[in-house]
């Protein structure tokens, strides 16, 4: 590329371009912008992502056991699943919803698409933001669940390493899914997204029952394996309630990495298509 020389009053534009350094500076600035906005919208964010899991915990983890419809041990299977669900929903929605708006009508993302940084890094920044919000959702839901349900048999926080890996990889997977959905669907399809993608994902994601339990209907047990939520829920079980039946953590992590790669590739591709005409 040709030499860059100074425009008169701006030493920054004037200095020779150092792509690596500049890209990271820009990346951090993009992140700071999103953090600023997310911080201000924290109450809405919490309501949006935490309400549903909490209702579920109240009904299935508190009311039904008290009525005698479910056994007390069910709560041990429920908590990791609900945690996985909160994390997944938070990550997906925090990326998808603003992006659908941006590409659909507001075009506010334009100023960032004009930033001197390769476009894929703008998409990557969105994924990082989604991960952050997914992790926060999980951190909020766990103590709330514990408070509502009382002591949960078999629940342990001893496997911190596994918990962190499952959480971060899981949030990344769903954040990348958010990128894919957000750059593919149109604003008028948001309702459809919930009924066609999100709802089946929630109900067949082993959030409310362990995967092992599905062996009563083998067809379903294998069909749900395409659902990325299964691996997060089972991973959470492996990390939080390791004494109860769960998929092996190696399988969970491997599957998540494969799905993450697929979502990232497709998400980046469709983001690029929307970002550059």
């Amino acid at each position: 590329m040709s030499a860059t020389t100074a425009t008169r009053s701006d030493p920054i534009i004037g200095t020779p371009v150092d792509r690596t350094v500049r890209a990271s500076t820009v990346f951090i600035a993009l992140l700071r912008r999103d953090v600023r906005v997310a911080r201000r919208e924290l109450p809405y964010f919490l309501v949006r992502t935490v309400m549903q899991p909490i209702m579920f915990i109240v009904v299935f983890g508190y009311l039904l056991p008290r009525m005698g419809f479910v056994r007390g041990s069910y709560s041990a299977a429920l908590v990791p699943g609900v945690l996985a669900l909160s994390l997944a929903l938070a990550a997906v929605q925090s990326v998808t919803l603003p992006m659908v708006q941006d590409f659909g009508w507001s075009h506010e993302i334009e100023d960032r698409l004009l930033a001197p940084i390769p476009i894929p890094l703008i998409a990557a920044e969105k994924i990082v933001m989604g991960v952050l919000q997914g992790v926060i959702a999980a951190i909020v839901v766990l103590p709330v669940a514990r408070v509502i349900m009382g002591p949960i048999p078999g629940l342990t926080l001893a496997h911190t390493g596994a918990l962190v890996v499952v959480t971060v990889v899981g949030a990344s997977t769903f954040s990348a899914l958010g990128l894919l959905i957000g750059s593919v669907i149109r604003p008028e399809q948001i309702g459809l997204m919930f009924s066609i993608i999100i709802a089946p994902m929630i109900f067949f994601g082993c959030a409310y029952y362990p995967w092992r339990g599905l062996d009563v209907v083998p067809v379903v047990q294998y069909a749900v394996l395409i659902n990325p939520l299964v691996y997060v829920a089972e991973g959470m079980r492996g990390a939080l309630t390791p004494d109860l039946p769960h998929m092996s953590l190696a399988v969970v992590t491997g599957a998540q990495l494969v799905i993450l790669t697929v979502f990232c590739t497709l998400g980046m591709r469709s983001f690029m298509r929307r970002a550059v005409g």
Binding site: R8, S9, R40, H107, P116
Partner: protein, 347 residues
């Protein structure tokens, strides 16, 4: 995926090229030195496929550094596509674009570093305040917060919106939002500023104040590339104009030279109550008529005697069994040139 729902808009192929050395002021060059002779743009575009909407057919442009350059054309002429390609927001199907020394296809990041863009419709970051719109945009260009804030205030002051610095963007009027967009395009001190129809939707007063701002920017030696479909705006502001239509370059010159190329005489436009074709033949021989064209119910006659020939025109038209429902007169202008080049009006 719902890919199929998309309108196949771009098969635009464009080749834009801006050559040139870096800005004329090297290190230590005096501020306010003469115009840079750096940037030049050439655009050229090829063809799309059968079903694609071809926005640009073949465009070769060369824009000089420090120039106030206008792209004039009706809606759908390919102006926005051209700006899109040169600002790295649209990928050219074929051809090449170079902006301030960097290739838009290959060195998009370097291009983005050197340009400021004012979009057709204001698209501020509505989650941020007026001031933060500028401060964060500056941060995307690596400008430290303190310096960005000072510069943002200076720009807001210059554009008379500093009083609203902490307001939400939605509280600004359309004109104020547009000025905020210009401030945003300037906060990182770009070499080249692109403005896409910057005055659409503004009231006359806001439009005039925007013109003043643009003149100032140009006087500071910046390269400005602006699209517009307002003749007056193009005429008053731009040093050189490219008239484009249907993705083609029709004419390129200074506004004065273009005006001089407008067909001689006054344009008399007569609206008829039916097809104007037969009437065109009849009025051809009216004295002082220099040129005649017909399109549907509109008859366009160029006259060396202004409106004096109108009675004779009406007579001839009536003798052909048509009557005149309306008449417009226009002095030679960019408008009449555009009409003669494209057969269409510019709105």
């Amino acid at each position: 995926m719902t890919q199929g729902l998309r309108k196949v808009y771009p098969a635009p192929s464009s080749r834009g090229r801006r050559d040139g050395a870096p800005p004329g002021r090297g290190p230590g060059g005096p501020p306010g030195a003469p115009r840079r002779n750096d940037a030049a743009a050439r655009g050229r575009s090829g063809h799309g496929d059968s079903n694609d909407i071809v926005a640009l057919v073949g465009l070769d442009l060369e824009i000089r550094g420090g120039e106030f350059f206008g792209l004039l054309g009706p809606n759908g002429a390919g102006k926005t596509t051209t700006i899109g390609i040169l600002t790295t927001r649209v990928r050219a199907t074929a051809g090449r674009g170079v902006v301030a020394g960097a290739d838009v296809g290959v060195e998009a990041v370097a291009v983005r570093q050197r340009i400021g863009v004012v979009p057709q419709r204001p698209n501020p970051d509505r989650s941020l305040s007026v001031l933060d719109n500028l401060v964060f945009h500056a941060a995307y260009f690596g400008i430290p917060r303190g310096r960005a804030t000072a510069r943002a205030h200076a720009l807001l002051e210059q554009f008379e919106i500093d009083a609203r610095a902490d307001a939400k963007v939605d509280e600004l009027s359309g004109g104020q939002q547009q000025r905020l967009m210009i401030a945003r395009a300037l906060i990182h001190e770009p070499r080249v500023i692109f403005l896409d129809e910057p005055t659409v939707g503004l009231d006359p007063q806001a439009r005039r104040s925007l013109w003043d701002i643009l003149r100032d920017l140009h006087a500071q030696g910046r390269t400005i590339v602006m699209t517009t479909h307002y003749m007056e705006e193009a005429d008053r502001l731009c040093e050189r104009l490219a008239i484009v239509d249907e993705g083609r370059l029709l004419a390129l010159d200074t506004p004065a030279a273009l005006r001089a190329r407008a067909p001689g005489g006054t344009l008399v436009e007569l609206m008829l109550d039916g097809d104007a074709g037969p009437a065109a033949a009849l009025v051809q021989t009216v004295p002082y008529v220099t040129d005649v064209s017909a399109r549907d119910g509109v008859l366009r006659v160029y006259s060396e005697r202004g409106g004096q020939i109108i009675p004779a025109l009406i007579d001839r038209i009536q003798s052909g069994g048509r009557s005149v429902t309306n008449i417009n007169l226009a002095a030679p202008s960019l408008e009449t040139l555009f009409l003669s080049l494209t057969g269409k009006k510019l709105d």
